[in-house]
């Protein structure tokens, strides 16, 4: 399990140099829902072309944190975030960064597969066309094929591209959503419990896919499933009550956790 890890070996601490390039640097991130503070001073580095897993009990703020990274929390009127999430030298939380631009750069896959109730083709082609990445016709066809191939869905759907995306099975729908996310050529893909609504076989397919995708993308995944974190993630962050209790490379985290709380959670003593 751990042999797959492309980790630098040394445990990750924030001041230590690693061989990995930083994709996102989060510093002192606080978030409030109205009066209630949901995130307390989060510091976290997300490394390029790695999978970072966020684990923790329900309500610990891991999904909230994930939604900060592409500012989906902006949609919740009562949510207010402070702090720094640096990407390409800019704080993505600041007004200077357009959240629409950010979401093109940081794609998202949701917990429940949510393909548009349109054709499979249109599900993938819609966003790139909207962003003027491709023009209609051959270029667009190619991008659709390329994205569906990258999501490992092409062979299953190539003869039914005009069928509604909602007619696919749950696992296929989720891969369609992944294809839709990578079609706009993002740098980061956020996945919010992407397999929690899927059966074990579809889950395994998605996990394999994540391994392939990290060659081209940085992935941050929220998961309830510790085995999944252990299987797919290079780095794991343990969230508890809106704080990061521990953040380390997955192998270290699961074999010799620093904190008692982490150990208790990982060994299933609570959570």
């Amino acid at each position: 399990m751990t042999s797959k890890l492309a980790s630098p070996g040394a445990p990750v601490t924030f001041n230590q140099e690693t061989t990995h390039e930083l994709e996102l640097t989060v510093r002192g991130l606080n978030l409030w829902y109205g009066q209630k503070q949901a995130l307390h001073g989060i510091d976290l580095d997300v490394y390029q072309n790695n999978i970072t897993a966020l684990i923790g009990p329900s309500g610990c703020g891991k999904s909230t944190f994930l939604r900060c990274l592409n500012r989906m929390n902006d949609l919740i009127p009562s949510a207010r975030a402070e702090g720094e999430i640096m990407m390409e030298g800019k704080n993505v939380l600041s007004k200077q960064v357009d959240e629409v631009a950010l979401r093109k750069k940081v794609g998202m896959v949701f917990q429940k597969p949510n393909p548009f109730p349109k054709s499979i083709y249109e599900n993938v082609a819609y966003a790139p066309r909207m962003h003027d990445i491709v023009s209609k016709g051959k270029e667009q066809d190619e991008l659709v094929e390329q994205s569906l191939r990258a999501a490992g869905l092409w062979d299953e759907v190539k003869d039914q591209l005009d069928q509604p995306g909602t007619s696919l099975s749950g696992g296929q729908q989720q891969r369609l959503c992944i294809a839709r996310a990578i079609a706009v050529q993002p740098s980061v893909i956020l996945m919010d419990e992407p397999t929690s609504a899927l059966d074990p076989i579809s889950t395994a397919t998605i996990e394999e896919l994540m391994h392939e995708l990290k060659r081209d993308y940085t992935i941050v995944v929220v998961t309830h499933n510790m085995q999944q974190a252990a299987r797919v993630a290079d780095y794991t962050a343990f969230f508890h009550l809106g704080e990061v209790i521990e953040y380390n490379d997955t192998a270290t985290m699961f074999s010799t956790p620093d904190k008692k709380k982490t150990e208790d959670y990982i060994t299933g003593r609570y959570g």
Partner: protein, 388 residues
């Protein structure tokens, strides 16, 4: 101490009886409603169906030079007052159009006077014995009969009952509804889009919401006063016109369209919006490309129901003068027009029995249109409805 099963059953008897009573009571309420509906429809059918037939008599028309001057001279004296004056009035015009008619005599089926029509339908009339004898003779010879009343659908209103039809009112209704739809649909849908998709949830928007919901319950005649004040007095829209009527009914239909459109928009699950935002769509792109198309069936259904209500509305139109006598169909939105329910209202005030049956027939036509509109709405909803 625990009760025995028998004890419990004995006490239950009363409760079960009460339950059965309430069942019958509620069922009889339904039956009463059904009986009223059947009575109403039967009454309309009995009164209205005869109007779809009209009495015609076959008489000799003499296209003489005298008839061109004095149309009455075209028919013989004994049937002169049995033929519709409206028909005779057209003779000089027809002769001027077609000169070869001059000097010919031919037998023609012509529209009968309304009293003759009513007599043929077996009603009491004010006809004199001599006239009745003539009609009976014609009927015996097969020269007086009831035919399908095409005039009812092709003529405008007329002071001669046998000539009166609802064509101009129907065209007026169509023109009015076009204006209503063109005004209320875009404004209503965009208002709903703003409130549902863009507006922040604060006191002001909640205040707006309450007021829009209240608007839907305002007596329609008040919209007539509003239309009179705004469109006619302030903007100078011609009174009695389809434009004024359509805009006024548009005001009335707006809240219905807004409320149903909002319901349709909010029925689209947030996961669709999140999917769109997730790939970098702006608010408007998410609405235009995903949310609106998905809610269109609901919006159409609501709009059709709103239009159906507007079609049956009379009170606000009386205020803005659309109750006028309109014999000729309007050809533009600014001409004086009347609408189906207003036409029915006008006929309902007439004493002649021909108008009475036309009133009922007009109601039948209006009901048919309304039921088809509502059926279309139901069909649309069933066909395109999305289950999430």
């Amino acid at each position: 101490m625990a009760q025995s099963l028998d004890d419990i059953s004995r006490q239950l008897k009363k409760r079960h009886r009460r339950s059965a009573q309430m069942k019958w009571l509620s069922m009889s309420a339904l039956i009463a409603a059904g009986v009223f509906l059947v009575l109403f429809l039967t009454d309309m059918l009995i009164k209205g169906l005869p109007a779809f037939q009209q009495g015609y008599i076959e008489v000799e028309i003499d296209y003489s030079e005298r008839a061109a001057e004095l149309p009455l001279a075209a028919v013989q004296a004994d049937v002169r007052d049995l033929v519709s004056r409206g028909y005779l009035r057209l003779i000089p015009g027809r002769m001027a159009e077609n000169e070869s008619l001059l000097g010919t005599q031919r037998m023609e089926w012509v529209l009968a006077d309304d009293e003759v029509d009513q007599y043929l339908k077996g009603r009491q009339t004010g006809l004199k014995d001599k006239q009745i004898a003539v009609i009976d003779r014609l009927a015996e010879q097969g020269r007086a009969e009831l035919k399908f009343n095409t005039g009812f659908f092709t003529n405008g209103d007329s002071k001669l009952p046998e000539m009166a039809g609802l064509a101009s009112a129907a065209i007026g209704s169509v023109l009015v509804l076009i204006v209503t739809l063109a005004f209320a649909f875009p404004v209503g849908v965009m208002t709903a889009v703003y409130l549902e998709e863009f507006a922040p949830d604060n006191r002001f928007t909640r205040f707006l919401e309450i007021n829009i919901n209240n608007l839907a319950a305002i007596p329609s005649i008040l919209f007539g006063l509003l239309g009179l004040a705004i469109f006619i007095n302030f903007f100078g829209v011609p009174r009695s016109s389809a434009l004024a009527g359509g805009l006024t009914l548009g005001l009335m239909t707006l809240p219905i369209i807004i409320i149903t459109s909002r319901a349709a928009l909010s029925a689209v699950p947030d996961s669709i919006r999140h999917a769109a935002f997730g790939v970098g769509a702006t608010r408007w792109q998410a609405v235009r490309d995903h949310v609106l198309p998905l809610s269109m069936p609901g919006i159409f259904t609501g709009s059709i129901i709103g239009l159906a209500q507007a079609l049956g509305e009379t009170a606000p139109l009386i205020i803005i003068g659309m109750i006028a006598y309109i014999p000729d169909a309007p050809t533009s939105f600014t001409q004086a027009a009347t609408v189906l329910p207003a036409q029915i209202f006008t006929w309902a005030g007439m004493p002649e029995s021909s108008y009475v049956e036309r009133t009922a027939a007009g109601i039948l036509v209006l009901l048919t249109v309304l039921i088809s509109l509502n059926a279309t709405a139901v069909y649309l909803r069933k066909k395109f409805e999305h289950r999430w």
